[in-house]
């Protein structure tokens, strides 16, 4: 083993110590100016002194992890898992391309759009749609209250109201298709009291008419527009019923005006029979008694029958 000694002028020295070996080694000194580096040196080796790259395995941290995806330094990943993009504060413009046409796709979107959830989820938030009633941009809003369901037109104009008894009120006219019209009953039932089509009648028989006007029967009609009809037939044993007056009126024992409130019946002089009918309109604003009246002015009507009936027209 040998030493190469550099004696300093200040009194110290630097020893370059060779190994104790039986072999021969060459230590080549580079042909560039510079400073020798030792193992105890710090902060001396620069990036330009490296020949080539440092392998990842020589690095303490050789990769980075984004979300749950680990990416080696210098590598490329086309997917990222476990990342909440804009979790708390979305970056400005982060998703502007989502609004662009044809940029949103995938089976997840397709499945979602094919069967979207109910608006408001399984339990609609209170007042979710109240703004619909106040928006003039919604042309036919539906308004539900505790007592009715209302369909509106022209903004907030009520067009149709359905109350809790399922009665429907139209603010305007009802105009069915001219060929369809309004379907009537398909069985032998009766219209409700107060409904169009309501029927009221009273029939009597065995009435012996005299020359004095008599109320032969009556019906009571509630307010409305009615067509009232009186049917008369008369005969009887030894009857010679040839001239009979029949009348409909809302005043007792008052025949009113001929051809409007009363008429003379047609008679079968040969057989002593008579029969006639006529109809008049009676429009009422309150419940009223309607009288059927009759008398004979020629012949004898010993057994007369009358049917006074009314049909509510509207």
């Amino acid at each position: 083993m040998g030493n190469l000694v550099f004696q300093a002028t200040l009194g110290g020295q630097v020893n370059l110590v060779g190994p104790n070996t039986a072999s021969t080694f060459n230590l080549n000194v580079p042909a560039v100016a510079g400073t020798l580096v030792t193992t105890g040196d710090t902060g001396t080796v620069t990036n330009t002194m490296l020949a080539g790259s440092i392998a990842n395995a020589k690095l303490t941290s050789s990769s980075v992890t984004v979300g749950s995806t680990s990416i080696a330094l210098g590598a490329t990943s086309t997917t990222l898992d476990g990342v909440n993009i804009g979790a708390t504060t979305a970056g400005t413009g982060a998703f502007t391309t989502l609004s662009a046409s044809s940029t949103v796709s995938g089976t997840g979107f397709s499945t979602y759009l094919a069967s979207p959830p109910a608006i408001g989820g399984t339990t609609a938030a209170a007042g979710s749609f109240t703004t619909l009633t106040g928006s003039t941009s919604v042309t036919t809003p539906i308004v539900k209250s505790a007592s009715s369901l209302t369909l509106q037109s022209n903004g907030t104009t009520t067009a149709v109201t359905i109350d809790t008894s399922q009665n429907v009120t139209f603010a305007g006219s009802i105009k069915p298709l001219s060929t369809s019209g309004i379907i009537g009953t398909t069985t032998n039932d009766n219209a409700n009291t107060g409904s169009v089509g309501e029927y009221v009648s009273s029939s009597v028989s065995s009435i012996a008419l005299t020359s004095s006007l008599a109320n032969v029967t009556t019906i009571s009609l509630t307010a409305g527009d009615w067509d009232v009809r009186l049917v008369f037939s008369s005969g009887g044993a030894s009857a010679t019923c040839t001239a009979t007056q029949i009348a409909i009126n809302t005043t007792s024992l008052t025949v009113g005006t001929q051809s409007v409130d009363y008429m003379w019946s047609a008679a079968d002089v040969v057989n002593g029979l008579a029969g006639s009918s006529f109809t008049k309109r009676i429009s009422l604003s309150a419940t009223t008694t309607v009288y059927a009246m009759s008398r004979t002015v020629a012949g004898t009507c010993t057994s007369s029958a009358f049917t006074l009936s009314a049909r509510r027209i509207r």
């Binding site: 009291t193 029939s203 028989s205 065995s206 019906i219 005969g235 009887g236 057989n271 057994s303």
Partner: protein
């Protein structure tokens, strides 16, 4: 509903309406209604009986 009632003057009055059955009235089925309306039958003491003075037919 169809029903018959005897008036104070003894005349049988046959009625049809939905105002409710008056006191003393007898509710009728369609056949009974037809019998009474034609005058061939009348109501007597709450029973439907043949009218002794029916309308004359030829």
């Amino acid at each position: 509903m169809k029903y018959a009632i005897t008036r104070q003057d003894g005349i049988t009055e046959v009625r049809e309406d939905d105002y409710g059955l008056p006191d003393g009235a007898i509710q009728l089925n369609d056949e009974q209604y037809k019998q009474l309306v034609t005058g061939a039958y009348i109501l007597e003491n709450g029973q439907i009986v043949v009218n002794p003075n029916p309308p004359r037919t030829v």
